[in-house]
Symmetry: D2
Subunit: 404 residues, 4 copies
């Protein structure tokens, strides 16, 4: 590699780096890099991406911050005990996880001002980039869902925000937005995988645009919502009117406990129903519940009941029961997002990357919710964007799956 | 209308014209023409078809043949009693049905040769066209599913076929193929809505191509298979490997009884699984049963169980339970097909219209099974084809739904 | 009939006499009395009750009160239009319903004191008994679920109650309890088919005991709860530990609207889970939701998800989806209760009839919730009680189903 | 223990001793005896059996025969790998399994006559009894389901049977019946846990009666059939008419492969539907399928769809989806049966023990299929039988769960 060549390495900085999702993504990345797992469950590993110069799995370095200090190898053992993956897998990548652990920082209690907190995280990200010689860092918010904050003038004016951030003792931003502001300040790409405020505040969106970073969001589309945005277009394509779409979600684990908080669940539910209303109309009756059922652990079971009318008023009912480890569905999407945003950065794109909507319940910059359309948009974007990456970029001959 | 103007009228000739499906299609067409039903459940009534010069619902004349002689108004009352639609609807269109009845012919017992039978049906179609001054006739096979015939040399050679058809007492073609041959001979467009042999025999496909008719098939995609071809692409887009997709179908009514015959059901099951294998691979384990449960009447209940593996071998299971009157799902598709094939004829198209795949379990001329892709293909085809219909064609200002 | 013979007639006085449930019960009773319906769906029509002198269906006279004034024949047409039963049935008993209408009284706005209201209803019941020469009147509360009242000293002391009832402008009792007090005052038997306070207030229970009436309650066990009290004993009999039992209920119609009120639903949900906890333990996690989905009409769809552990910690999951018109399940139980309480009265029983627990979610006087045990208790009670009815009682030769 | 005291030990001789079920039962027994597992999932461990002198789990010795030679500790590891139980459990009882292995005999290829085969097995059983000083041996057939044999005169006459068994080269009995005959000859108690012919042949039933052994059967009621015999009585108790009860079973593993054989599955299906017909009538439409879906492993998923009519012809539908490791449901029942038949032997009972019907799909000596009734019968039998065991019998102070 000549001095002027860009680095082959890309950083993935996880907000909530010791949570189930980040831990699973790390395990999976290490397993893929070692070639002991197949790239199953990743969109970017499909044959349609064969010619796209995506960063290889062995060229992604993980960092991040978390309030927890539990070592990653220990977290991996906990998740294996819950049945998420075989213990053998956690054992096989234990050394890799221990090395990744060295890149993780503690999200400490609030400093004197929120700007101080932002500086500190931005410095951590910059240090991570420098230490590993990364050509791009992609920050992904995979932390627990927060309650949505009440609106505030500082969410709409950069001046008001600057003032608020500098005021000692004032915490105008929720933690997810502090982290998003830090990503912008560090010039990192950003993906919001939770429904938390994060970068969705208008003032931060404006900062992100001005900073020229590539970003995408929001709230990973993994299970029930994925299914709904696959099924709803079927009804409309056949000219049916969907009258109601009711849903019940049961899950335990950390997510179940978080979502047992009515405030936290409110942002989740709003995000879950947004696509449905966009696809089948605002009048659809769509009650939706998330219940914390600790004995079910990290497996989420979702039951949906759809009622539609068609020709001459005939009725169709459809029930679906979906059962899966939510973190195991989400983890590959996180890796897909890191690869996609790194590609965007390589191609010099900035601003919201609307074509990444297939990964999100609430796609920024797009009103396309139908999953098949989103997948086509993403695929075409990747193939188009590939043409704009400079030929001297390292991974040009990289196969899509990153295995070597 | 000047002498040189094409007729505004199109004929729909149903093979099995007194069955549940044809009767329902007739009731629906009459109700739409009278403006007492909304065009719900039809693909061609969606806003995407607003600019396409489709034949209006009040410009379609129904004819056909059947082995049964039960008058249509009586059939309509039977179906209403089974809960398929309100009796009020059957009453409201009783006079229209009685007039349609005059266009129906008896499918008599076999004549001296099969060519004689073909001639007779072709003559019936021609007479129907002449009597109503139809610019196009679209023949749609909506008869009961037949057992698949054993292969025969006459299925592959026109000369062998001609000889066989002329041989007294020899019945080389199944009834569905006799009717298909008659459609070709009469120069009618053709749609095969059943899995029966119909026009799928190579020798008839060749005749149809040579005759320059537009045709499409095969086996209406109404319920469970529709759902499968919507869901399967979700798994592949996310990079999952589908291991098994098991299905159980319960239904009564006439279809339940027909499909209780193991021979008849064989062609149905083969057709149902074809798309699934094309979408998720030949290795998927896909047991499929259709049970005759008379007490369920014409409502079909289908349960599917899908098992897939994703990232790091994680398991997803999805169950779906679909419940609907199958004939009520199929009838609007039959009307869509009549309108689409009439459009093709108006535009001078001939041969297989592969872009009609969204209507079929086993799409002729196409290996696209993913429903979202099929819908896009159909929509784009209709918009493209609209440009090729001559501007002097009557229905140019016709709104898509045909209501006026 | 000699002067000293007891009347062959029994009255059924419905609180909420024009609601879906009471109307359905009335239609059914008239149809059974006319012999145009089979006694399907009634427990008391099973062969086990063949020798029990139950009142015949043509010997039950319906009365009651309601806030609505809609004539019963009109209510019947409304329900038929919603698909609950064929219009032909409503037509066939229209005259009977019109005659029953004459027995219905308006539940007027509150009078000067609640004692005044009680007197008025008690007088209505007494007049009903006298007018038809009824040997027994059974009051059944089938009105809409009320919010549970806050506790009050008058609920626990007869003296405090008397004082409160006599205080002008004070409404200490909810309407369901006013009606229950009237039943006691009129010496009628009583069944509480709703979870409303009704006769469950301690002060009214004491009054009922003192008055020597037979009574039973509470909250009809029709669908999901029935199913749960059938299934839960299976798990315990096999030594399984049930960890969670989650439920989602979807319904529209009047009940859906009532239960969309969080206060009204609270009493319903408490009642629904009581049996479950009694059967599988207080530690079971049992989230339960009732959603108002207007397009589903009076059909209730209930999904349950059960998770249990057995031998060596093995996991069992069971999902159930139950779909039925709730009023159609409840109406025969109301008739069963009228017959059973009339039998109790014939045999001179007073106080709570604990053996009627099979009809209730929250069985008064019993901690038996397992449905099979309740059915056996009821059957044995009926056979035992039959021996205590005097031989001169009219319906001694009455077959159990009342058809003649 | 004085010389005249009966031995405290009981033997369990498994036909198919290395299969999933027998291996799981052995692991569970060893874990219970060691006190490292709770007696969850066993009927005989419920509080109702507290006073019954059942043999303790540490007083049961396992023996048996099988065509396979795979060591039990290895089988246990295989099953653990399939997710049936944690590997830690298999490790913890590996030494116990190795010791049990020494009691297992190979079921060799056929000898010169079938009587020779019977003698050999009977000798093995007798040697097992003598070696361990067992007071009773209970033979349990837990082998793979066989095709049902065609009827034969030797199945009905002891003389004909004796002659046939002595004829060289003639194999009139299926293997399960050879083993049953050996149990009789050895004076062992017997339970038929499969639908195979086993001891159900009239000639063997007569031999068993004459030999004075206690026996019970047939075909373990573990999952779907258990559920059906719990639910069906609900419908009849409420006076509903069940019109159809359709079922689909998906499973892989060894059982899935065995039942993929249409002949083997025939006996299974007949047995599964017998109870259903007894409970809801012969006219119920009850299609039932078992599909081999290898990727599902040993987890069985069963979907049932029930359609019933009630009051005024109203329709109820119920769907159930049951998912569990079948062997894990069956294994505790096998231990329950060993304890129950040892109790019967202790009390001097002989002949069919009809009160054990709660364990079987096809209960010998009883036409009671309703599970709640069967459980009550079994409980009462155990309590009654306890009174007949001699007071000097060893395990009189044994707590029901056998833990000490």
């Amino acid at each position: 590699m000549s001095p002027q060549s860009p680095s082959p390495l890309v950083g993935a900085w996880f907000i909530g780096a010791r949570g189930s999702l980040a831990t699973t993504a790390a395990i999976g990345l290490h397993a893929l890099a070692r070639g002991i797992a197949e790239p199953v469950g990743l969109t970017t590993a499909s044959p349609d991406f064969a010619g796209v110069p995506l960063v290889g799995f062995d060229q992604i370095v993980i960092g991040g911050h978390d309030v927890s200090e539990t070592p990653l190898p220990h977290r991996a053992q906990q998740l294996a005990a819950g049945g998420m993956f075989p213990r053998e897998l956690a054992d096989a990548v234990a050394d890799d996880l221990a090395r990744t652990d060295e890149n993780l920082r503690i999200a400490v209690a609030a400093g004197p001002t929120q700007q101080h907190d932002i500086d500190r995280i931005a410095d951590d990200i910059a240090a991570f980039r420098a230490r590993h010689g990364l050509r791009t860092v992609v920050v992904v918010d995979v932390s627990s869902t927060e309650p949505l904050p009440a609106d505030h003038p500082a969410f709409h004016s950069d001046e008001a925000l600057r003032e608020a951030l500098a005021t000692p003792g004032l915490a105008v931003l929720p933690p997810s937005s502090v982290a998003a502001a830090a990503a912008i300040q560090a010039g990192a790409a950003y993906a919001g995988f939770t429904p938390s405020a994060g970068m969705s505040l208008p003032v931060l969106r404006a900062r992100a645009d001005a900073a020229g970073i590539a970003f995408a969001g929001q709230d990973g589309k993994t299970g029930e919502t994925l299914l709904r945005t696959v099924l709803a277009p079927m009804f409309t394509a056949r000219g049916f009117t969907v009258l109601s779409w009711a849903g019940a979600n049961l899950l335990g684990g950390g997510d179940g406990a978080t979502l047992a908080d009515p405030e936290a669940v409110r942002s989740k539910l709003a995000s879950k129903n947004r696509g449905l209303h966009a696809l089948v109309g605002e009048n659809v009756v769509a009650p939706l519940h998330i219940d914390n059922v600790p004995d079910l652990g990290d497996v989420k079971t979702a039951w949906d009941h759809v009622h539609a009318v068609g020709f001459l008023g005939t009725r169709v009912t459809l029930q679906t029961t979906w059962s899966a480890f939510d973190s195991m569905l989400a983890a590959p999407l996180v890796l897909d997002l890191v690869r996609a945003l790194a590609l965007a950065a390589d191609a010099g794109q900035s601003g919201v990357v609307a074509e990444l909507g297939c990964f999100f319940k609430d796609p920024w910059g797009s009103d396309v919710h139908a999953f098949a359309d989103q997948v086509r948009d993403f695929t075409e974007w990747a193939q188009r964007t590939a043409l704009y990456t400079q030929s001297e970029t390292a991974p040009e001959l990289e196969p899509a799956t990153g295995s070597r």
